[in-house]
Structure formats: C-alpha cells, structure tokens
Symmetry: C2
Subunit: 328 residues, 2 copies
C-alpha cells in the first residue's frame, strides 16, 4: 500500500459511482479522526482536477471529554489548508433525553441534520463522509448479529441523496499509513459508549479472524452489499408500485384493497406493510400480513400506535405518527 | 436447557414447517457424531406420535483414520435401538481425484447421492439430517466472508426436496447437554481438513464474540435467513418467468431476444444469466449482461466454456456442459 494507491482508489470510486460533479461544492464532515483528515486531504488533492470547491463542517457534540480540543484541532487544520469551516455546537445529551434516544442515535441524528442544513446554506451539492471499508464490514457484521434483514446486510451505501462516501473501498489501516506517510496528524476518538464497545469487539476480535479465513473479506462484503442493495431496491420499487395500485391514502390512514393485496406474493405483502408503517418490527409486519390475508374482522392494535381495522371496504391501517424530531 | 426443551423445539420445528407426514418413512443420516445421535434419538422418541418408520444410513467415507470404528459405533447403536441401518462404503479420495474435487466437496457429493439412492430403495419419503443452529450460523458467516450473494446469506434450508433438518433451531451445546442428560455416547469427528480448520476458527473464535454482542445471534441469523430466502425465491421465480418469455432453448444453447432482455431490470438480467449458466462467477455474469445490454457484436469467450455470440437474431449463450458426476 502506498499513498498513490489510496489516491487512485479514491478517484476510482468517485469515477465509478459518479460521486462528484465538476465545478461542484463539497461539504466534508470533519470529526478530526484519521478517516476525516484523510478525506479532507484527498478532496483538496483532487480539487483542481474536478474544479471543486471544498468546505468543511465540524459538529461539536458536547459529549467527549476533549470535544473542544478536537474542535480546535479541526479549526487549525482547515485554517492551515485554507478551507472554509463551519462549526456547529450541539447539546447531544439534552437532545437525547428530550427525544428518548440513545446518545449514539441522537448524535447521529444531529450530525446528519446539520450536514443537510449547512449544505443548503452554503449551496453545497455534495456532503462527503469518511466511512471506510472497515466501517462497512463492521456495520454488516453488527447487523448480521442483530438480525437485520436484507437492508442491514447491504452495509453502508456509497451514495444516498447528497451524501457520498468516497473512502468506502479503502481500509482503516491504509488510511493510517497514508496519513503517516504524509506526516499528517489526527485525533483519536475517546468516547466509550456501548456502540463503541460492540464496535471494538467486532474490530479487534472478529475481523482479524475473518481476515485469516479470507484476506479479501472487506472487498467481498462490499461487493455482496452492492448486489444485495440492487435486489433490495428492485423489490422496494415493486412494492411501491403495488402499494400505489391497492392503497388509498388519507392523512394518517391507508385503506388497502384486501382482494388485490392478496393477489401479491408474501414478499411484496411484507414490503407493502413495511412501506406503510416503517416503525414496526418484522414480527408485527408478519402479524398484519396475516390479519389482512385471513381477513380477520375488527380492530387490531399492533405496536407503536399502529392499528389495523379489517372492514368490508378494505383493511385500514392507522398510524400515530410521532412529531418529527427537531434539532433546534 | 433441559431434555424436554430440546424435544419440544424439535417437534415445534417439525410442526411449523410440516417436515413429516404421519405414517411416513424417514431415513436419518447418522455419522455417529453428537448431532446425528441426538437426531436419531429424537426421531425414535416421536415415532409413535407420528406413526413413523425410522431407518438409518451411515456413509463410511474411507477418509478418517477411525472410519471403521465410527461405522461400528453406528452399527451397535442402531442395533441396540432396533433401527434398520444401511451402511454405504465409498472411496472418497479416489472419487475426489477422478473428478478434481476437494475431499470435502467429494464427500458431500457422495453423501447426498447415497442418501437419495437409499431413500428411493427403501421407499423413504424423507431424509433427516442433523444440521444445527450452529451449523447454520457457521455457514452464513463463512459465506459472508467468502462474498457469497443473497443465496449464501440465507444459510441452510430447513427443508429442500426430501431433505429435512429438524435440529436447525437447536444449538450444538443443547445437543451435548441432551445427550449427557440421557447418558448417550457419540463419536468425535477427527478429520482435520481445510474446511474444518476454517470452521473451527468461526466456531471457537468468531461465534463466542458474536454471542457476547447478542446472545440471540443464532435465532437472529435463522430468522433473517428465512426472510432472505423468501425474497431470493421470489426474485428467482420472476427471473424464471422472464427467461421463459425471452429465451429459446436448444440443447446446449439459449437464444435471447436482446430487445426484450433489455426491458428488464438489471437485477433480473443478472438472475436470467445465472439461470442459463449457473457455473460462472458473478463478475462474469456482469460481463455477459453488459455485452448483451450494449449489443457488442461478435463471439465472446467468457469462462468455463461459456461463449456469448451477439447476432442479429439475438444473443446466443453456449455452454460446455460438463459430464454429470457419477458416484458409481
């Protein structure tokens, strides 16, 4: 592995998925960790070639003991590289308590919220994030262990909406070597949360054994993920088409034509229900499918405020839509 | 965990998937290992309830140093339990050399071949195999690491054709406790092959960490596998329907209507090609899809004797079908 190989693979990934538009404006999420420093350095390397404008955003989550030092590190780095930086300070613990989320979920939510807002403010057409091939593998293993379905096994998408992840084919080890070869510094993430504990088990104890079995495990899981994602998207499109044919929408309610619902395969039935009520678990999806298929009369309370009423005119699904979480 | 819980879950699995017919005749594959001894014991426990006839088959692979002792162990056990046993001796190493297979692949091939033949001879309507929840998890992890697609992540099917796996929801640990509680003996598998080495890494070093992260990892992977399998089957059915519409078959050749091929989603295109030439890798599937989609004129040699010819009347795919392997 050498510096050039990382740069080349970075460019290859950008080309393969057409992640960047020439003359565009990219907002890079910079925590100050190795991945994000590498991302920012690679972006400024290719900026002339793509006529890119590169800006940075740093979210100070107010969680880590050294959050302010991290912020200072990112401020210095971007100043040194002459890159415009937006720093957003958020109070993650308070937000998490208020919305009954775990710290990780809250931090993630706030991060993406401010990425999007800032991208809009600065008129950025892309937000670049530093996820690596290791992050992808860890995510897939974690989802496998938790019992996530097809979607979870796809891993981290290379692009979604304005978000792009051009480091997804590069390993964490390669990134460290790259930074060391260029004498670039970074900060270590010192948060010690449950998720981090789990991630460390996966990273330090599971992945090394998988590498022993097959050194190409990261590439393999990435490639499989791409195939799975295309199959998942295809099924999702079929389910959406089916739903638009058999469902009548009315604010919080959907009325489903039972006879036409029953003309679909179980796979699409499940996905139709999941489209209507994404908040429910797969066990409850199964229950709703069963209720509609067998046309069980009456009102059935399911979970999380979802109610199914089987009536003559069809199956009515009502959701108690929770107020959308707001980061202000 | 107690003896009853294993028996109950065994019966639950049989009921849930309707694995057995009342009054049927089951052939149980008995290596002499813990799983197969447990399987045979459970089958004879439930035989009166289901009015089952239970027979056993033992394959002496001629590989393991103590193959003959294992055979003797199984002969004694079945005699003691008054169960009819068929012993088949095969020369796996010679078969493997002759057909250029690994020892594991050859052993597996011969095993299933003789299971089917013997089932036919004895008029058995089911062949019961001792795969456990651990075997399933190990298989899924192994397939993930190797980069298998959707099919590989489904794991081991509970039933396929006449084969049933009623221990699939029971763990290896539970099986050992069951046997110990009933003072039943078994033989340990002492073969030391590459596959076994890999399996041991997965079993001893990866799964314990996964259990630490989520003690329900086996159930989760089983449940996910079932969902994935139904999605895989659904996509397969769509691809088969599409192929029957756009393909003309002619011994070793398939002629594809290019225009109609191109009307399908990439997901179905890939699966159509995989149906025509299951022997090729996913990279080569991708290449064929690309050749047909872009209508690249001429003859293209792909892999393993597969040739694609793009002509005016359509895309012709020719396979060099290898002689089917024969166990005699």
């Amino acid at each position: 592995m050498d510096k050039l190989s990382v740069l080349h693979r970075f460019i290859d990934t950008i080309e393969q998925y057409q992640l960047l538009k020439k003359g565009g404006h990219v907002l890079a999420g910079i925590s100050g960790g190795a991945d994000s420093v590498c991302l920012l350095d690679l972006l400024r390397m290719i900026a002339p070639k793509y006529k890119l404008q590169v800006s940075g955003i740093h979210i100070n989550h107010g969680i880590r003991g050294n959050a302010d030092q991290d912020e200072m590190f990112v401020r210095n780095l971007t100043q040194q590289w002459d890159i415009r930086l937006v720093v957003v300070k958020v109070d993650t613990p308070t937000f998490a308590r208020k919305h009954r989320m775990s710290l990780e979920t809250a931090a993630r939510h706030l991060r993406y919220l401010h990425y999007q807002r800032t991208a809009k403010k600065l008129a950025c057409d892309r937000v670049a994030l530093g996820h690596t091939a290791d992050d992808n593998l860890e995510t897939v293993i974690h989802n496998l262990v938790r019992g996530a379905g097809l979607r979870g096994l796809c891993g981290i998408p290379v692009h979604r909406d304005i978000f792009i992840r051009p480091l997804i084919k590069i390993t964490r080890k390669e990134i460290r070597s790259y930074l060391e070869a260029k004498s670039l510094k970074w900060v270590e993430d010192e948060t010690n949360t449950d998720v981090r504990y789990t991630r460390n088990l996966i990273r330090l104890q599971i992945i090394p054994i998988m590498e022993k079995i097959n050194p190409a495990v990261r590439e393999n899981v990435l490639r499989t993920g791409e195939l799975l994602r295309s199959e998942d998207c295809f099924l999702e499109t079929l389910a959406q088409k089916a739903l638009s044919r058999i469902g009548k929408f009315n604010s919080k309610r959907v009325l489903i034509d039972i006879k036409r619902f029953n003309s679909y395969n179980l796979v699409l039935k499940r996905r139709i229900i999941k489209l209507i009520a994404p908040e429910i678990s797969s066990d409850h999806v199964e229950r709703i499918v069963d209720l509609i298929t067998r046309k069980c009369p009456g009102s059935h309370y399911i979970q999380a405020g979802v109610v199914v009423r089987i009536r003559d005119e069809g199956a009515e699904i009502t959701r108690k839509v929770s107020k959308s979480v707001n980061g202000d």
